[in-house]
Each structure stands twice: as structure tokens, then as C-alpha cells.
Symmetry: C3
Subunit: 204 residues, 3 copies
């Protein structure tokens, strides 16, 4: 089931990235690159950091085909998707939770320290969006108040400590999703924000 949600989430990430590319009038190639970087950048960065080769999209290149197809399809159906904000936000939230769990798993497989397990989950969940914003020449959205990284951290913590407590794997996945996903939805509904650090002086 995790695998199915993973592909659905990758597709959703690719489609929202394609819309971001369209807002900057990128060409079709740019749309595909931005979709790939957004959907696959988190897992790729994690694999580079952990020396975890081959990269998952090198091992299974049809993921690239899926991402680019989803991006190009978005161009074709763009006029119909502008009322789909909530479905996309929900799929994106589901993706955040699933990417986090997968990222924690990869780090646990290689016996990493618990801190690295949580960091690996967060990198997998959020770096794609950071790279998208850098390529679009924006300050990353995730640094500006969205309760997004926190959801990843909480999900990873529930997953890690659930497994550490000896609970059964599939059960822990369900519990982590049942905590992380509603948290993200609540953050969206209630417009929860991370506190900001506002500093407007130069050092003297």
C-alpha cells in the first residue's frame, strides 16, 4: 500500500510542480525538469548523503517516465485543474508523510543513528520543494512559516519510536500516517504557522 501511495504522491508532486513552472512560463522541457526535481529531489539528496546507490530512479527509471508524463498531462488539462487546490493539497500532505516514512526506512536499513533517521525522513519529505523554489528563483516556501517540516519530524518520530518499541511494522506505518496526515490537514485548515524570526538590524 505504501508503494501505491508513493506513486500517487510522486504524481501529485509532479503535477503541482508543473503548475508552478507554468506560472513562470517555462517551456515543456523546463516543466519536466522542475517536476522531476520536485518529485525526486528529496529522495535523491537523501541517497547522496547516505551513499545509498543506485539512486532509486536510476534503479527504476520508469519513475522518470511517470513523472514526466504527469507533468506533460498537466499542461494538457491545466484549464480543468484550477479548482483542484484541495485534492492537490491532500495528496501533497499524504506524500509528505509517505516520503518521510520511506526516508526513515532507508536510514534505518543502513543502521544510522536515530537523529540521522529523523533527518533522512525530513530530507526525503521536503528537499524536493526547496529545490523547486530555488530553481524558480524564490526563497523556499518551507522556510516561511508553513507547518510542513514539523509534520515530517513528528511523523518520523512516531515511526521511529513505534518500531523501536517493538511494534509490528505495518501497524507503525498506519499509526505514523494517522498522526502525520491529519496534523498537516489541520495545519492547513487552521493556518497554523511556525513562529518566524524577524531580525532587521545589521551587525555593527
Amino acid at each position: 500500500m505504501l508503494t501505491i501511495i508513493f506513486y500517487v504522491a510522486i504524481t501529485a508532486e509532479a503535477m503541482t510542480a508543473a503548475l508552478a513552472a507554468g506560472r513562470r512560463n517555462m517551456d515543456w522541457f523546463g516543466v519536466c525538469v522542475l517536476a522531476s526535481v520536485t518529485a525526486l529531489g528529496g529522495g535523491t539528496t537523501r541517497d547522496l548523503f547516505l551513499d545509498h546507490y543506485p539512486l532509486y530512479w536510476v534503479a527504476n527509471p520508469y519513475i522518470l517516465v511517470l513523472v514526466c508524463s504527469a507533468a506533460l498531462l498537466t499542461i494538457a488539462i491545466a484549464r480543468f485543474v484550477d479548482r483542484l487546490r484541495w485534492p492537490f493539497l491532500l495528496l501533497d500532505g499524504l506524500g509528505l508523510v509517505v516520503f518521510t516514512i520511506i526516508g526513515c526506512d532507508v536510514a534505518m536499513e543502513i543502521g544510522a543513528h536515530p537523529i540521522i533517521v529523523l533527518v533522512s525522513g525530513m530530507v526525503t519529505g521536503i528537499v524536493g520543494g526547496i529545490l523547486r523554489d530555488v530553481l524558480c528563483n524564490d526563497i523556499p516556501l518551507v522556510f516561511r512559516g508553513e507547518l510542513y517540516a514539523t509534520v515530517s519530524l513528528v511523523t518520523g518520530a512516531v515511526y521511529f519510536f513505534g518500531l523501536a518499541a517493538g511494534l509490528q511494522g505495518d501497524l507503525v506505518i498506519l499509526v505514523a500516517m494517522a498522526v502525520g496526515f491529519p496534523l498537516r490537514v489541520l495545519a492547513l485548515l487552521r493556518r497554523w504557522q511556525m513562529p518566524k524570526f524577524v531580525y532587521d538590524k545589521e551587525l555593527r
Copy 2:
């Protein structure tokens, strides 16, 4: 011959990157870094993705000396180069084709899937320019209509399928170059553009 064109192309990439640095009033060090990132960034990214160590400029560091010398020479002769747009564009187009072929080669050596072979060629050919634009704080040029990535894809496809068809290696290189390079020149002359995806709504 591929090796000679490779060095010529790296030099040309370094020089055009140096001019881009000059347009942003970077200092001499920034000129060298931007030249190195532009000329070597594609191959480096490919090697990181494919776990192909040592990186080629770590194995042969005189490439770095060549790139930085070309960049600094550009500063000295800048007043003479402003009529050289076409020579630079032609060398850049030649470089795109050669980088692509080399990138495909590296992926084939490690037995990668055909999709990854083509992606490896494209990454080698175009990521340097993307990194240059990110460091210059621009949205990458290659995402905004230039028929550049397509040339890389076509060149890689000719090369891969030529070899897969059992043709002799040097012949296939020549054919791939004879297809890719004129395609790039035609794209420049006729101002061929990738179609753009223009989307100006926010999701609701």
C-alpha cells in the same frame, strides 16, 4: 578527436560563463568559480548520480587549470570578444553534442537502463548551464524556450540506437554529431523554440 573537441568545448563554456560573471560584476574568484561550475557541473552531477568515482576533474585536475586559465584570459581579452557571439554559439553547440555523447558513454559503461543513458547524456550536456543561472540568480535559460535540451535528447538517442544497432563506435559518434550539431545551429538560425506552458491562475 572526441577528446580534443571536449577540451575546446570546456574552454568555450568557461569563457562564456566568464562573460556572464562579468555582466554581474563578479570578482576574479567568482569568475573562476562560475566558469568551473558551468564547464564541469554537468559531468560532476552525472558522476554523483551514477556513483562514478573519482570525478573526472579529481582524476585529472589539469582540467581545472584549463578552465580557470580560460576564464581569466577572458577578462584580459574581454574587449575583443564582443563580436564573437557566433563562434561562441557554435563551440557551445559542439560542446552540447560532445558532452551528451560522453554522458551516454559513462552510463552505458556501467550498464544502465536506456532511459538512464539518455538522461545521463542530458544531465552532462545541460546541468552546467542550469547551475550557472542559479548562481547568477536567474531562472535557468534552458527552461525558457531555447531548443537545447531537445538537441541533447536527439543526439543521445541517435548515439544509443546507433550502438544498439551494432554499428561501429566511431561512425556512430560522427553520425550523432552530424545530426545534433546542425539541429542546434538550425534552432539558433530559425529561432526555434520549445512550446511554453503559460498558466497564470492560482489553484483554488
Copy 3:
């Protein structure tokens, strides 16, 4: 002693990065990420380039805890730090020198070419600041005249040639620091600048 200065420097880098994040009104999470990228990005890039695994912060994740604690502490005490420009600049200069020496060391351990040893020192010393500026959507400061990379290059050269001349290791470290650190301080006091390359024509 190098280790102690290393931790002090990492803490100082994290704190100045946190202030940069505050100037852009980032949230607490963005503050931590920007601090981590700035403090650890140079060494991480070096390790990726040299295939030097595990990354040092994966092997010793308490470095991440230190960096994030320093960043969050900076938020709490921000109102008191705005007169600390010079202490921060001095710690940052010390860090530049120490990061450079450590970067050279890593490259020498794996028997890299002298050019790569110097590049490894420079990457370790300056890439963190470049990544910080890219994430903050600026053209990197180090490309715009600051005598910063040059200090790293000189420090690395003294260190490498001192060791190559057969001098005792701890002595060479002291000499390299005694050359590099005052050079950085002098550059700050005298406002020494790298010459800039100003080029305002488009190629024709």
C-alpha cells in the same frame, strides 16, 4: 585544539546564518536549515566530491544538534548580538582557516593531487556561504569582491607545502593559521577587495 576551534567556528557560522535568516523573516525551521547548510555545506560538498563516506555529520550527528541549538539560541538572544559584528567576523575568519586545513587534510588522506588538495580546502571553507546566499536568493557574497577565497587558497598552500617540506604536522597547522587568520583580518580592516570583472556588453 583544531577540534575545539572547529566546533567554535561551526557555532559561529550557524549563528551568523541564523541572523541572515532572520533578516529574511524565515521561520524557526528555516533558521535551522539555513544554519545547517551554511555550517556544514562546505564539508558535505567536499565529501560528496571525494566519495568520502560517511559524511562527517552522519557519523557524528551531535554536530547537527549543536548547529540547530546555536541557531535557535540566536533567535532568543538576537537583541543582544547586534553589537557583536567584530567577534563574529573574527570567529568566521578563524573558521575559514580551520575549515580549509581540515579540507586539505581529507584530500591528502586519500592521496589526492596537490591541486585537488587546495580545491578541497577551498570548497570546505567557502561553499557553505555560497549555498546560504543561493537559498537566500542572493548572488553569493564571495563572488563580489570579498577577500575570502584567496585567504583559503593561501592558507591551504602554506599548509600543503609545509607538510610537503617535511615539517612537523602541528607546527604546520600553527603556521598556516598564523598566515591565514591575520590575512583575513587585514583584508577586513583595510577593506581589501579582489579586482572585479565588469563587462556590460552582450555578445553580437
